[in-house]
Symmetry: C2
Subunit: 227 residues, 2 copies
């Protein structure tokens, strides 16, 4: 029997590749989408398509209304910045969602413990990223330690492991890896501020990094950029 794993799945390029990698490693897949009051529903739709296409044992969608706390361009009424140079992205941008990965990982931990799973996958990336503090390896290591102190499973001697297979990859390497695994990036979505039909804006940080990744990989992004 395959080992159960909980994989955080937003429906974007990174988490989709992460799910495909967990499958390659022989895990029984439990995909978890946390709907924390994002601006658009395309992420949720993409996550559902990805879970179905890659083939998961179960896909859970959990709603948390982080938007009521405010404070982010992704959940609040603040403009998403456009056409920033990559060098500007080292500053933490307004698209930062407070404590987002802590919230996501705590939900994944709750489900994992209930399932009797100890493997949790999150597609964070410390290279081509937007300067978010909760994408750094030291954060992941600290959360893992906390998880093992927090839980009955940890007390019983099981060890939770937070897997971050993308953490040291460039966006181009992530895209190449996903293509090798047969990922259909045409059903994913990365844009922070898509058009009404779901097409990506091509100008936000997420689009800029994604387009750069495909370009450097020598591949074409199947999404329909209106640029």
């Amino acid at each position: 029997m395959n080992k159960k794993a909980v994989i955080l799945l937003s429906g974007g390029l990174d988490s989709t590749t992460c799910l495909a990698l967990a499958k390659e490693q022989g895990s029984e897949l439990y995909a978890l989408t946390v709907n924390y009051g994002q601006r658009h529903i395309f992420e949720l739709e993409a996550a559902k398509k990805v879970a179905l296409t890659i083939g998961v044992k179960k896909h859970s969608v959990i709603n948390i209304d982080l938007a009521q706390f405010g404070g982010s361009a992704l959940t609040d009424d603040i403009d998403v910045p456009k056409d920033r140079d990559e060098s500007d992205m080292t500053d933490i941008p307004v698209t930062y969602v407070p404590a987002r990965n802590t919230v996501l990982l705590s939900m994944a931990l709750a489900w994992a413990e209930t399932l009797g799973a100890t493997d949790i996958y999150i597609g964070v990336n410390a290279l081509d990223y937007s300067g978010y503090p909760d994408c750094r390896p030291e954060f992941i290591e600290s959360f893992e330690r906390t998880a093992n102190l927090a839980t009955k499973a940890g007390v019983d001697g099981k060890q939770f492991k937070i897997h971050t297979p993308l953490i040291n990859l460039t966006k181009a390497e992530i895209v190449k890896k996903g293509m090798e695994l047969g990922v259909n990036y045409g059903i994913t979505t990365s844009c922070y501020d898509p058009f009404h039909n779901g097409d990506p804006c091509g100008h936000c940080d997420a689009c800029t990094l994604r387009l750069k990744g495909f370009k450097e990989a020598g591949l074409k992004d199947p999404l329909n950029y209106q640029v």
Copy 2:
């Protein structure tokens, strides 16, 4: 101006006393109730009454459907154990909610960062408790470290502090402290399995510990026990 603090408030004896202590320490109070699919609505009603009575700047209630993960007598269809000796409570019971305090603290962290607050209060107790791993000081310290690595505020040099003013108090000491501060325990609720009118069962771990606390403090619990 008082310093903002986020206080986790379930509406039970411990979190209510914790809120009163944060008030005594001069904080501007932001009470956070996380409704994680508890069995009964009396907790939510009690939390609202407590927030109003003690006087908070804002009370947020956030819903997270942890019950869909299953695995606990508090969110699932499992019987709450009754009339256990205190010595049995060192085993982790079925009322344990997977990763509960990790989930609660991550939500408090998200709100605190949005508010620009660095003080978070949680009424955990390592003495008269039910054997939950996420009530231990080593868990709290590890979460605090994770919080400071997770956040923009942490990166910017602000330090989050997880306050646990009850952690080394007996239930009797907690009750005495609360009474000194004028807490009305008649509007709180602790029972895991109350009657339909909200009255406590008097036999679950929470009731057993609470009754023992009042008894040892030489005080009478104002709740209506049908025992």
